[in-house]
Amino acid sequence: MTTALAPAPSKLAAQRKRSSAEGRRLGSRRGNIVAGIAAWAIGILFVFPVFYMVLTSLHSEVNASTNPPSFFAPLTLDGYREFFGASSGASPWPPLINSAIASIFSTIIVILLAIPAAYALSVRPIKKWTDAMFFFLSTKMLPAVAGLLPLYIFAKYLGLLDNINYLLILYTAMNLPIAVWMMRSFLADIPVELFEAAALDGAGLIRTLRSVIVPIISPGIAATSLICFIFAWNELLLANTLTSVIAQTAPVFLTSFVTSQGLFLAKVCAAATAVSLPVLIAGFAAQDKLVQGLSLGAVK
C-alpha cells in the first residue's frame, strides 16, 4: 500500500538498498570462502600434532622413529600393548584407577558443595553475595605453589603423603570456585516463580533442591562435572609432590616417559593418547559449555 502511494522514491531506495546489500553479500560470500579456506588450514595445523600423536601410537616402533616420518606405515596396536605393560610388566592401570578415583570423587564432592552454595548466591542470595562470589574467584587465582609447601609438610607429618584421598580433597578445593561460578549462572536462569511455587507447596531447602532445581539444571551439572573432571585429571604439580608409588596418578605415570629410552616413540604416543582419551571425550561432550567453565563462568 505504501509503495502504491509513493512508488518512485521508495522503489529507488529499495533498489539502491538491494544493490548495495547484494554487493555486500557477494563480497562477504567471497570473503567467507577465503575465511573458510584460511580457517580450515589453521584448524588442520592446530589439530595436526594430535592427529600425528594418534597415528604414531598406531605404528610399530621402527616405523614411528623414521626420518622423514612414514605416515602410511601399516597400523598396529603394539604401542598400546607396550603401554599396558606387555614386555615391561609395569601396568598403567593403578595410576589410571587412582586418577579416576581422584577425578570422579572430587567432582562429586564439588557438585554436592557447589549446588547449595550457588543456591545461597542466586536463588535466595545472602547479603553481599557478590563479595562471596569474588572471594571464591580470588582463591582460584592463588597459584598452587602458594600452598604447596604447607600441604606437603602437613601430609608428611600426618602420614598423608602418597594417599589418594588427600589428593582427592585438594582437587575438590581446586575446582570448587569454578563450579560455584558455573552453577550460580545456571541457577540464576531459573525463573523465581518456580521457587515460590515450591515454597507455597511447603517444600523445604532439600526438597526444593532435589525436586525443582536439580532436574532443571542437570545439563548444567553435567557440563560443570565434565570441566571439573578435566582439571582434576590433568593436574600434575600437586600429584607429583604429594604422591609417589601407591597413589601415583596418570599424569605422574606419564612423567616416567620424560627421558628417552631407545625406540619408544609409539609407546609414548600410545601412553599420551590413552591418558588423554577421557579428557578428549569429556571435552567434546562439554564443548558448548567449555568456554563458560574456562572463563570461570564470566563468559556464557
Partner: protein
C-alpha cells in the same frame, strides 16, 4: 531481574523489623527478606572447605617464608629472618627464573591472544564445515598437558626422529636439536599451541555476543567491514581481550608441566613454579621455597586485581 539485584539493598536497610511488622508484604518480599543463618547455611560448607584448604595453607606459606627451615638441618629451624627473600632477589639463578617467568607469560599470552583473535574472527564467518574447524581448534586444549609436552618433546622436537626435522629432511633443510638450541622458544611455541584454542574460545564467545541490532544498524548506514570492526567490534571485544589476557596470564604464570617434561628446568627454562617445586623437593629448603611461592603470589595478585575488575564489569552487565 529484581530478585538478583534487589535483596542486598533492601535487606541492608530494613533487616530486623520488616518480617514481623509487615505481615502483608508480598510473597516474594517475605521470601527475599527472610534473613540470617538459614540463608547462609547452604553456602557454609563450600566456604569453610575453601578457606581451610586455600587460605590457611597460604598463611602458613607466608609464615614459613620468614623462617630458616631446611629439612636436612632440623636443628637450625629459626623464626624471623628475611634471608629467604634476600636470596630470592639476589641469587642469579632465581633472578633468571623470575625473568623467564615474566617473559614466558607475556610472550605466550600476547601471541596466543593475537592468534586467537584472528582465528575467532575467521570462525565467526559463515563457511562450510565451521563446526568441524571449531572442534579441531579446541582439540589441542583437550590433550592432558603432560601428554602434550611429551608429544612435543619426543614426537615433534626430537632431533633424530621428530616431525619437524622429518619435514626439514623432505625440504633438504638442516637438522637442529630444537630443545637444546632454542629451549625457551621450544617451550613458548608448545604453550602457544596449547593456549591459542583457549583464547579463541573466549574471543569467539565475545564476537557472538555483539549486539545484533547495532551491527544491523551499521550495515544499513553503509559502514564497511573495517569501520564496523574498528568502531563496533573492537570496543565490544576489549573486555573479552582483557579477560582472555588476564585469565591466560594467571594460568600461564602457573605453568609447571611443560617445563618439568621438556627441559626439567635446565637451559635457563626454570620458571618460578618449577623452581619452587625444586627448592621444596630436591633442596628441601622449606623457608626458601615458601619465599619463592610468596613471590609468585605477588605476581598473581597484581594480575588478579585487574582480572577481578574485568570480570566484575562483565558480571554486572550479565546480572543487570
Amino acid at each position: 531481574m529484581a530478585t538478583t539485584t534487589a535483596p542486598p539493598l533492601e535487606s541492608a536497610t530494613t533487616r530486623p523489623s520488616k518480617k514481623d511488622k509487615e505481615p502483608k508484604a508480598s510473597f516474594s518480599d517475605r521470601w527475599l527478606n527472610k534473613q540470617g543463618w538459614a540463608r547462609r547455611v547452604p553456602l557454609l560448607p563450600a566456604l569453610v572447605f575453601i578457606i581451610i584448604l586455600t587460605q590457611i595453607p597460604f598463611l602458613a606459606t607466608l609464615i614459613i617464608s620468614f623462617m630458616n627451615w631446611q629439612a636436612n638441618y632440623p636443628n637450625e629451624i629459626a623464626f624471623g629472618t628475611l634471608n629467604n627473600y634476600v636470596t630470592v632477589f639476589t641469587d642469579p639463578a632465581l633472578r633468571s627464573s623470575v625473568f623467564f617467568t615474566v617473559l614466558l607469560t607475556v610472550t605466550v599470552v600476547i601471541v596466543s591472544l593475537a592468534l586467537g583473535l584472528g582465528i575467532a574472527l575467521l570462525l565467526n564467518r559463515n563457511f562450510f564445515g565451521r563446526g568441524a574447524v571449531r572442534t579441531m581448534m579446541i582439540t589441542p586444549f583437550l590433550v592432558v598437558p603432560v601428554a602434550a609436552a611429551l608429544l612435543w618433546k619426543h614426537a615433534i622436537y626430537n632431533p633424530v626422529y621428530g616431525l619437524l626435522n622429518g619435514i626439514l629432511t623432505w625440504l633438504g633443510g638442516p637438522q637442529p636439536d630444537w630443545i637444546t638450541d632454542f629451549p625457551r622458544l621450544a617451550i613458548e611455541v608448545q604453550l602457544i599451541w596449547y593456549w591459542t584454542p583457549f583464547m579463541t574460545l573466549i574471543l569467539l564467545a565475545g564476537l557472538q555476543s555483539r549486539p545484533g541490532d547495532i551491527l544491523e544498524a551499521a550495515a544499513v548506514d553503509g559502514a564497511n567491514s573495517w569501520q564496523t570492526f574498528a568502531n563496533i567490534t573492537m570496543p565490544h571485544m576489549r573486555r573479552y581481550l582483557e579477560l582472555g589476557g588476564l585469565l591466560g596470564s594467571i594460568y600461564v604464570l602457573q605453568t609447571f608441566d611443560t617445563v618439568f617434561v621438556m627441559t626439567a628446568g635446565s637451559l635457563g627454562t626454570a620458571n618460578l613454579p618449577y623452581t619452587v617445586y625444586e627448592t621444596l623437593y630436591s633442596a628441601q629448603d622449606y623457608g626458601l621455597a615458601s619465599a619463592q611461592g610468596v613471590v609468585v603470589v605477588v605476581f598473581s595478585i597484581a594480575i588478579a586485581t585487574f582480572l577481578l575488575r574485568t570480570v566484575s564489569t562483565l558480571f554486572s552487565e550479565e546480572t543487570r
